[in-house]
Symmetry: C2
Amino acid sequence: MSSRLASLEAYEKLINDYDTWLFDCDGVLWRGDHLIDGVIEVLDILRRRNKKVVFVTNNATKSRKSYKTKFDQLGIEAHVDEIYGSAYAAAVYISSVLQIPKTKKVYVVGQGGLEEELRDEGIQFIGGTDPADNTIAPFDLSQFTPDPDVAAVVCGLDTQINYTKLSKAFQYLISNPGCHFIATNEDSTYPTSAGLLPGAGAISAPLRYALGKSPVCTGKPSSTMLDCVKAKVHFDPKRTIMVGDRLNTDILFGKNGGLTTLLVLTGITTEEEIIGPNPSPIVPDFHTQALGDFRIVERPL
Amino acid sequence: MSSRLASLEAYEKLINDYDTWLFDCDGVLWRGDHLIDGVIEVLDILRRRNKKVVFVTNNATKSRKSYKTKFDQLGIEAHVDEIYGSAYAAAVYISSVLQIPKTKKVYVVGQGGLEEELRDEGIQFIGGTDPADNTIAPFDLSQFTPDPDVAAVVCGLDTQINYTKLSKAFQYLISNPGCHFIATNEDSTYPTSAGLLPGAGAISAPLRYALGKSPVCTGKPSSTMLDCVKAKVHFDPKRTIMVGDRLNTDILFGKNGGLTTLLVLTGITTEEEIIGPNPSPIVPDFHTQALGDFRIVERPL
């Protein structure tokens, strides 16, 4: 059962026990374009106490570089090398795990941020933001000449999703021998300030359904994401805590990686889901209302 | 185990044993725009022997009226009242089973044929072919005013699928109390003369995934489709045979309805899938290479 942080001592102990703090962003630091109360102060406390801070996001519409500007706009201190995104994890997976030859290509169902991460890893790609594929004009399969060099299809959240992209991706997956099917993440929904929209998992869902098979996912809760962090940051899993708002991505990700987990209730999950009569099977080690609750350590009651 | 028709007597017996013949269209009568060999002759034999002929299609992009023109173009005799489509079944389900009040509306993710069937049943709808929803421009949830009268979302194959339609449909399903989630059919793929494309099931898949729940499907293999036929055609299930090319739609539909089933191999299913080492759990009563094989009864060897 999850332990609810409730005293100054409990918050102090958590800060003392963990040296590396991994944070999900949306629902933890902000919600859509709104900064969540107390976040800047708490991150500042952690940094002053020499904690290593890492941001781990499933948002694949932005590259790490452009995600950094989101932090800047909201006034949150962050460095590009502290930010890990599912698009970056997908690019690293393709280049380092699959080791697709440099002559091969990836067909992208996704946005500019995913393309930027692929480009930075030296991976050739087609589709994505190409105007030819961003259309709702009818798709004529008989006029389509598939590129035999496409060795993988990678899907991220794509708000320009359409039948041409889905059809091309489907053709590559059924026709190009051994073509890999990769999704940046499987989030069912995407939180905006105005409410929920279909998430990246909903964008790959048509292909998943048409193929009758699931993609390899590189974002949380997959260990691929943690492997990317490990390649750059030295940390002891026993002294590392993952802070998130989603049980099936953030908390599961922490558990899969052997980390301690802390759920905040400023995002998608309600307290009832973890301590109610029908709790989720994914149980965080700790939970608290909001990240801002940690301000108590410098503002004793 | 499925019995392969192999002799004049076997074909003759089938024709003698069944008075009502239900046919799937794509993969049985034609493939894309190509008529399958022998179809016109066999339908003509059945009609001359006073068999009742019914066409049962999951294609929801066309109304029955516009589907009739497809028969005309290929030179196949058919009457509008012999044609039953999944779009028609969806409209009948909404008006007769759900009995949504006439003041309520349906949000359509689908094409003109689905709209035409809804209109014919006197059901108000929005979305569908409305140019405002057929765009890949960004969708801004904060600018969206949901219509409180939307009581159902119905999805069919929609080759103009996009994020605006998916987002609006998702909003209605999570925000309008009791909003029904209906799909015309769950076909994973859609056969064209040039090959397979993602089918209607792939169009509702993002909503299914984002919601974590499945729609009510009105096309084959659902009994809703057979209920629509029963409402208009008197037939004895014991003397009725369903002819199709897909195990999980056509053959399952026949079985669910207590009909005898005949698989043809001119569509999506190979003989290996029914008599190979790992056969499908859905087994037709009979199979034959093509509908045209029945010509043998008037062309003895």
